[in-house]
Symmetry: C2
């Protein structure tokens, strides 16, 4: 699922160097301060809520802010934990406020449902109110809306989204030494545009420690992304423990670059507590060389280490065993079966495989279809909706399970075709949403539109959303976060906010400063998001300057 | 304190691009697994302890490991907190051990002194014992040394170093699902070679949020670095709150890129709990343009924004006020007064400054000395030992306070000269220990020797140690950690471990695999250390592969 990255990488880096050489010639002495003017009228919630009204008051927030949890959902520990994280993020600085009583000293969160189930399409709606405060010494403002701040949601996951928005409204005033909310009173009604707002993480090309994955998940929650597509395994390494086939993770790089079942479960739980699904992938039949390290018979031969040997029933038994074990770990309703880049040359050149085909009068294309459909049946038998990369749809759409979710990556136009054929679709067009393509600027991530070319509303409903892809050839623990951020945030707003609000013709005025602000917010929270307007992703700043201006 | 970085940066990046272009042409298919062989005989404690003996047993560690804190130091909360961090780092993975009782279920830490004072030269000695275990079912091993594991130290800070070493011995066995210590029994007697093992962090060229600074400090403790040289202020921005002169931080980039007094105190406390000093710097009289944003009179004129205007007594009052306020924050005995790169051209071209000089028959060089010596007096009056960049020593060593610590940066040979003149010295030769010089490979950091050219033992004692410098022009929150690590670790071993053990002629065999291992350990703990052998610092991996091989 990756275009020839090496060529890209070298090209990018050469361009970077040329860019830097010319930039480095410039002198940027004391003009720095003049260069930065932050437009205080902009709304610094990322992604932008669906509907909101703001006022012109500034209210103070009590560092001992109390939580009043109401509704059936009050029994959930997930909201209470999210509130603790909220407090850690918002009240980082000491308060030394000398202004008397605080305007907001309690937040009321009302969650209607006690159902903690996290499935695709779970209700993420919330309403957020921040009152205009009591004024100095008076009480009238306190009663203006509901008193202080409140969040109302149907589910705990809606409440999490509301808390995230509120956290972004809370800004420390360094002069008064107090957390404030500007532009109160706030009335926000918000819900996502798409139910699937994903990020792919590849732990085969480089192993990412559990800690690093958790950092990614935590940062996703700040941008309201809600699906981590965990591309666990690929041809380079097989890091996951599969109890039914204990030699599979012998294909890990080292004995230390592995995930136990408990590790994977911990990641799923950590994500769930942030309202994030984990969509696991087992990419078959290509990209499977690492399987053969532990079980050589899965490869057609020692010269042909992939695609998997479809002539043996054992191969499908192993896939079934893997999915049986993984079903206990991954509760999400979608499961990714890959299916991309199946290079069948060495099937032909392997005598027993070629013979099998000839006996059945099958082509390698037939074998590819045979394999994918059997894998789909296994996934369906495990009560999973199968997701496949687009080649399966492109090659034999007429035989795919009608439940299949088509995952676009090669280029534009696939989702219109898929939904016209009744399939659901996820957009990951590599020209705009591949994070490892370092030359794609934030604007291209921002303006990529999942419904492009789809005009029929019933077909539009089949587009689940989209996913930015962080392939791992050149991304490991040392650079994965700054390659993801801030560009993933651009896609996140596209996927959450209404289409009309994300379709501004003047991105530099209305979106760029907000994204720069969000990047600095990520930095403030410990996420090493790269400068927004640097010429190539994850490059360091080109010189001294304010975070907000870079 | 920075050579013309822009030229360097562009040069490096061009070289990087060229390097990548050539590298990208190579194919590296399935050779990956063959390429990696980890030498299990190597000792994976970084930096290497002074003395140790190891055995050949593997012992298991109870995930419910108990702490038995003894000695006068048992009253300190610092060791107990460090033990909590130790547990978080060591017992990340779930234990599913089915092997019965654990060999080590208690660690005894004996700290002789209850004195929590952290000053230069504080005793960091420790002894660490890990018994060879009880064996399977027997009890004999349990009594072999002291039972389980123990650390003995004179101070709590020695105990912290011992805990760090023990944490590095504890390795998760993915097959048995248990933390083990290999090569038991262990007897380690350890102490640092130098008392000053520093890292400079520059928060003026780019503001680093408190969170980012804490991440740096936490990571320093893993390599037993013990001084964070906080270059808080420079010409680009003045982020620190100074209550006596409340307009100084108007010189910050934005109202959000600031440190309150409480922020600074929190950093000092956070560092102390890890046995790390904070050495603050106020660099005068050059590098001070940002002071003039809030107090324009501190600059000679609007055309000459630095060096500071020495003709006004107010200038020295402000310095005195800053140091008075900072003394309440920074308990460390050393204070850095800068003194580097004083470009005096615009002193001459400013009429009232030039007149002042002529009236007193002084040159600009005299004025530079006058300024530095007055600043030294202010620091001394605040009971601080003044540290100055080497230009002060190079220019008027005969008049410097004898207490002055000379901080080398320009090149080799300065410390021998300084100690021959009776001054103490810190090595930061930019050719080997500047982290923002991306072309300096780890080997050069490793082989830089603070006592090079100093043969007299009484003079050797005047070398406090050394410091690697992370200047901030191209380092912000997005890239500071991967620019620091792993190269700072190479210097850390040089500064901690005995000279003979760090003077191997075969670095690639004896040191490189250990450093690669330590880099992966940092990754595992969430620190985004860059690949060790990449051609230029902080570059991403050039292709898929094991952490331990990159």
């Amino acid at each position: 699922m990756e275009s020839p990255w090496k060529v890209y990488t070298s090209l990018y880096l050469l361009l970077i160097a040329i860019g830097f050489v010319s930039i480095a010639g410039k002198k940027t002495p004391s003009s720095r301060r003049a260069a930065f003017h932050f437009d205080e009228s902009l709304i610094n919630i990322w992604p932008l809520p669906k509907q909101f009204t703001a006022g012109n008051r500034t209210v103070t927030v009590d560092p001992d802010l109390a939580l009043d949890l109401q509704g059936s959902g009050r029994v959930s520990t997930i909201v209470a934990e999210a509130f603790d994280r909220f407090r850690n993020v918002v009240f980082k600085q000491q308060s030394g406020y000398a202004g008397g009583e605080f305007d907001i000293s309690k937040i009321t969160i009302v969650v209607a449902s006690d159902d903690e189930t996290l499935q695709l399409g779970v209700d993420e709606t919330y309403a957020l109110y921040v009152s205009e405060g009591r004024g100095r010494g008076g009480e009238e403002g306190k009663l203006s809306i509901v008193g202080g701040a409140s969040i109302e949601a149907n589910t705990i996951y809606g409440a999490l989204r509301g808390l995230e928005s509120l956290s972004q409204l809370c800004i420390y005033n360094y002069k008064l030494k107090v957390v404030e909310v500007n532009k109160a009173p706030w009335i926000i009604h918000d819900e996502p545009r798409f139910s699937f707002r994903g990020l792919l993480l590849d732990t085969s090309r480089h192993f990412l420690p559990v800690n690093a994955i958790k950092q990614v998940i935590e940062s996703m929650s700040y941008a309201k992304l809600n699906v981590l597509h965990w591309h666990i395994i690929d041809e380079e390494s097989f890091p996951l423990e599969v109890p039914s086939y204990p030699n599979l993770w012998v294909g890990s790089y080292t004995k230390w670059e592995r995930y136990t079942v408990d590790d994977a479960s911990e990641i799923v739980d950590f994500a769930k507590r942030r309202g994030i699904h984990i969509m696991a992938e087992v990419d078959v039949p290509g990209h499977t060389t690492s399987w053969g390290v532990g079980y050589p018979d899965l490869s057609p031969s020692s010269n042909c280490t992939e695609p998997l040997d479809f002539t043996k029933e054992d191969t499908f038994d192993v896939i079934s065993g893997i999915l049986t074990d993984m079903r206990k770990i991954f509760p999400f309703g979608l499961f990714h079966l890959g299916g991309d880049e199946v290079h069948d040359d060495c099937w032909i050149s392997t005598p027993h495989v070629n013979q099998w085909l000839q006996q059945r009068n099958m082509t390698t294309k037939d074998a590819y279809q045979y394999f994918v459909l059997r894998a789909q049946q296994i996934a369906l038998a495990h009560n999973w909706v199968p997701v496949n990369w687009e080649e399966t749809f492109n090659t034999f759409k007429e035989n795919l399970s009608s439940q299949t979710v088509v995952h676009n990556w090669l280029g534009p136009g696939v989702c219109p075709n898929a939904v016209a054929n009744g399939f659901r679709c996820i957009l990951s067009n590599q020209g705009v949403w591949y994070l490892d393509h370092l030359d794609i600027p934030w604007e291209d991530f921002y303006t990529a539109e999942p419904l492009e070319g789809i005009h029929d509303s019933s077909q539009q409903k089949l587009v689940l959303g989209g996913e930015v892809c962080m392939w791992g050839e050149t991304a490991d623990t040392s650079d994965v976060l700054q390659t993801i951020w801030p560009r993933a945030a651009a896609a996140a707003e596209r996927l959450w906010s209404p289409r009309d609000t994300t379709s501004s013709r003047n991105l530099n005025a209305t979106v760029l400063p907000r994204l720069q602000y969000f990047r600095c917010l990520l930095n403030h929270r410990g996420v090493p998001a790269a400068p927004v307007t640097n010429q190539f992703a994850r490059q360091p700043p080109i010189g001294a300057g304010s975070c907000f201006a870079q």
